[in-house]
Symmetry: C3
Subunit: 271 residues, 3 copies
């Protein structure tokens, strides 16, 4: 597909999202629960946060997508992630893994490797450090931030996708999405996203919302990141600090039309 | 009482709330803790979030009201809810239960039924789906959202109140509050409340703050919902998106005067 | 040092903070995690929230400072606080304890006394009620709010610092920071900070960020509180309610220049 075709498909996915209002089940970290629930709602889906082993299988069965985000990991949440993940897998519900801080500590790397192996998510969305570290491609992570740069990010995203058999999205100044064969670069976004906590987790929530309505995971991830980036650009254009930017970002996610998205999406196939 | 008398009583309750600044003890979910603490503070009460079995009985003994909100339920929090709830019950401290997502999973329905039976709350505040599901009146819940409509919501709220021996509030486009005999409709609010997460939980926090100063639970619930709805109307009048609306809602809750509230409250007895 | 010298040192610390972007490890409460992570980021440091015993020692080893804030205490988090605290102590990483609600319940007082004894933090930041209660100096706490006033706060802060062998900061209308010998009063701030939840916890996050770059803990605490207070003053000057004030506070923390801070800091040695 050409970039215009991908952009147009992105706009159509937003229309389907708003029309069907899918449930998105999040098992996520304590820091971002409120923000990612809001982002899910604002773009047009219906969020639920649920982590009790007693209910996650039943909950995910009603969902259009599942988010696994062990950003404040604790061992006793793994059971819920595994139960929900396996049920989602069995029933064909797309799963988005956000490996927050993988590479920063052995525990985070191990937890995310385990989820990658046991759950086999549909999409993995992380920063360069997290994906690099998980893929053994030299990513460096300080706390939850990526430090340093990957020598060849396009190769890393493609190889990680092939190696894990999933769609991988590396987000940063330029986002890269790959299924191992096809790779798309998403140019939307704004640097103020780096001044706020949870903006990576929010992009994962966007990807999950689109995965509930776009069956091709490569385009779902692309659409979620493009919609998020376009809303960020619109928000930044009318604000002058990170606090007011966040407020405006929420406004713009809600207001974003599919026409505007299709027009502004910078989604370019990479050779 | 006539609608004007109820409105006037609502304004007086706000004056008492600000004058006495009661402590409101919340055992609530991870998604809304920050927002419901802020709403409690902004309307004039003093919030505390505490869920350790070791301290909840001591904490609630100092409080003017208790909120039980198992919105991100996990089994090991039940003990704290039961300990705090029973102590509140024994000492006459009003308890507001928010049965988030009851009806969505068996675990949520069971947890809330258990709290209803064991704690015997003073007020239950939920959406049509949650109250309908708990009362066996056909409510439908997707995640934490009510879907579909109750055939006769006035009958449902009245019967649930009678059946459980509590005041029940069903919130939505029009809120209904009933003690089984008397029923009041609250017409305040704004549709943007549906675009943000936790707005139902915030309305529960409002009800609890008023329950600490208004001994008639029917009027306490009415006053909390009216004050919240009036603040939402004022906020919506000067904003143009959900993000800026939320910021303005916090401003308006803080600024809301008892005169303004008494004047704008749409609180109408239902035959 | 004179007040001008302290103010100038405060500005220099902000420059170092922005240049080195230290990792600040928080083990904190559920209510404020998002806000304190944002404050840490906005002032120029890099936050990570991590509470699993499996990873806290590894995480804190990479950090420039550690925050221990048992504001929603639960027994099974104590192990993580002790592990991280001891490791930080051994390796010379400054520790800031925020004894939220100490004095309100026996459990909170005991938890914080235990952390004080076992971890020996570098700085303790609390309100008058919390510090007074911990020091046995008659502080009174309702929930997490200080009620009543200390008869002689300067004496309380000095004695607590001496007794515990740490730097103590009591925040309120006028902040007091002491190491037992030297005491500094910080006059910056705004009353709207009292209308929002978590503003005390955010001031602790500020103190921790500065402790990562300012080796003298007395000046680190002073700098963190002054920077926070100056940003609050700038934010209040252009807003008219607590909601918009919070948004502006985030903007101003990000924008705050070291020159502006050095100029506006009201940091006065107390005899």
């Amino acid at each position: 597909m050409t970039d215009r075709q991908i952009a147009s498909r992105t706009g159509e996915a937003l229309d389907r999202l708003r029309a069907s209002r899918p449930l998105v089940h999040h098992i996520t970290n304590f820091v971002v629960m409120n923000d990612t629930a809001n982002v899910t709602l604002l773009i047009g889906a219906s969020p639920v946060m649920a982590h009790a082993p007693e209910e996650v299988e039943e909950m995910v069965s009603m969902a259009g997508a599942l988010v696994l985000n062990p950003g404040t990991p604790q061992r006793d949440w793994n059971e819920a992630m595994l139960l929900a993940g396996r049920r989602a897998r069995e029933t064909g519900i797309p799963i988005v893994l956000d490996p927050v801080g993988a590479g920063a500590t052995e525990f985070r790397t191990r937890t995310n490797r385990m989820l990658l192996d046991e759950v086999k998510p549909t999409i993995v969305r992380g920063n360069a450090g997290e994906i690099g570290a998980l893929a053994g491609a030299g990513g460096e992570v300080k706390g939850v931030d990526s430090v340093g740069t990957l020598t060849d990010p396009e190769q890393v995203v493609r190889r990680a996708a092939k190696q894990w058999g999933v769609v991988v999205a590396i987000t940063g100044r330029r986002d890269l999405v790959s299924d191992g064969e096809r790779t798309i670069a998403v140019g939307n976004g704004h640097e103020w996203l780096t001044t706020l906590t949870g903006t990576g987790c929010m992009s994962t929530a966007m990807v999950a919302a689109f995965a509930a309505v776009e069956p091709d995971a490569l385009y779902a991830a692309t659409a979620g990141l493009a919609a998020y980036g376009v809303a960020a650009e619109l928000a930044a254009a009318r604000t002058d600090g990170p606090g007011s930017f966040k407020t405006a970002l929420f406004d713009e996610l809600y207001r974003l039309s599919s026409e505007r998205l299709a027009e502004a999406a910078s989604v370019v196939p990479v050779d």
